[in-house]
């Protein structure tokens, strides 16, 4: 793929070495280009990129609060429309906490109302900015600071909330999952999302070196393992048509993904088996 040359997220931001969230934004903005307004929920991304009086953003950017990126984006989109600037790409970024938990109502409203915007949830599967607390997107078995593993606990005891399917239930024209380890796939989806008339939602898996417990160099490798094991499926739903966008030729055992991260290190054979079963069912259901 010929990647667009221009960058719209400047270096010097305070993201950790190996930060996947910075990469999500870098790739998304490369695709959407200069004619973009960004809205962000409170979280790592906003904190690390806007330390007053500096900003890493080279497109217009607004942050208001944690739970309202969907609503702020709605207001921005309509104000642009009122000014006759309907060609501007409106992209909202929220972490999993800001999207699947506290921000769900505001996203749901924005999607249901049909605003012409793209919402990208960068999912690192816990509240990383406050120090790795579990969210509704934390997978079963992960140890976080509020779902720690212990002598009588295997960690998080609920499966991950299925946000892309919640978005699909809104009947919006474009929904996709993505991974930072598959940049062409992700950028193609950003292209489709921003070209869609109406709301689009992309849920991207973003390995977090600090929160998941792995060497910064492994960010991409672990994201890839997530996809190759079937733990993180890549698909899109375009005008109601479901399509898997990447199928591993031979799915790797999920234990390879689990053992690469500190958050799953405590799991025993029984738990690993249970997760493998969960992944198998998911892949069967999605046709992977």
């Amino acid at each position: 793929m010929d990647f667009p040359k221009e960058e719209f997220l400047a270096p010097g931001h305070r993201g950790c070495a190996g930060c996947g969230a910075a990469l999500v934004v870098r790739l998304a903005l490369k695709q959407s280009g200069k004619n973009t307004v960004v809205i962000a929920a409170t979280g790592c991304l906003e904190v690390m990129t806007t330390p007053y009086p500096e900003t890493a953003w080279e497109v217009p950017f607004i942050h208001v609060a944690f739970e309202n990126a969907g609503a702020v984006a709605s207001g921005v989109e309509r104000a642009l429309k009122a000014q006759g600037k309907e060609d501007v790409n409106v992209i909202a970024f929220g972490g999993d906490g800001g999207s699947v938990d506290i921000g769900l109502q505001s996203i749901s409203g924005a999607m249901e109302r049909g605003h012409n915007l793209t919402y990208i949830c960068y999912d690192n599967e816990a509240y990383m900015n406050t120090g790795i607390q579990r969210s509704g997107a934390t997978p079963w078995g992960a140890s976080t600071t509020t779902s720690p593993s212990g002598s009588v606990s295997y960690g998080e005891d609920k499966p991950k909330k299925n946000m892309p399917m919640i978005m699909a239930a809104h009947g919006i024209p474009y929904i996709a999952t993505a991974s930072i380890s598959y940049p062409e796939d992700f950028m193609q989806k950003v292209k489709k999302a921003t070209e869609t008339k109406g709301p689009a939602y992309i849920h991207i898996n973003q390995p977090c070196t600090t929160g998941w417990g792995f060497e910064p160099a492994k960010t991409i490798e672990i994201g890839r393992l997530g996809v190759e094991t079937g733990f993180w499926p890549l698909y899109e739903i375009e005008n109601g048509e479901f399509r898997v966008t990447y199928r591993p030729t031979e799915r790797k055992p999920v234990v390879e993904y689990l053992k690469s991260q500190k958050r799953f290190k405590h799991l025993g054979e029984d738990e690993v088996e249970k997760i493998q079963e969960y992944v198998d069912n998911q892949c069967e259901e999605l046709g992977i």
Partner: protein
């Protein structure tokens, strides 16, 4: 008063004053002879510190090592940065 109205920042990309290269422990060194121009290092860098000609901007490279890890031909070595 030292802040702008509403703390709006009108200098896009101004985090460039913050040279994050100082965070680095390991430094990526590219052996151009081995490079197969696959673009992995360029596209996977969270800092955008590697350009399309595979030049590394050490002012900002945090030394995460993703470029080295993702290089299919081991053309990038991570060395202790003195």
């Amino acid at each position: 008063m030292t802040t702008s109205v509403g703390c709006t920042i009108d200098k896009p990309g101004s985090t460039r004053v913050n040279k994050t290269g100082s965070w680095r422990t390991f430094k990526p060194i590219l052996n151009k002879d081995k490079c197969v121009e696959c673009d992995n290092c360029y596209i996977f860098c969270p800092e955008g510190s590697i350009n399309q000609e595979y030049g590394i901007d050490y002012d900002f490279c945090k030394g995460c090592g993703i470029c080295s890890n993702e290089c299919p031909v081991n053309a990038i070595e991570m060395e202790i940065d003195n």
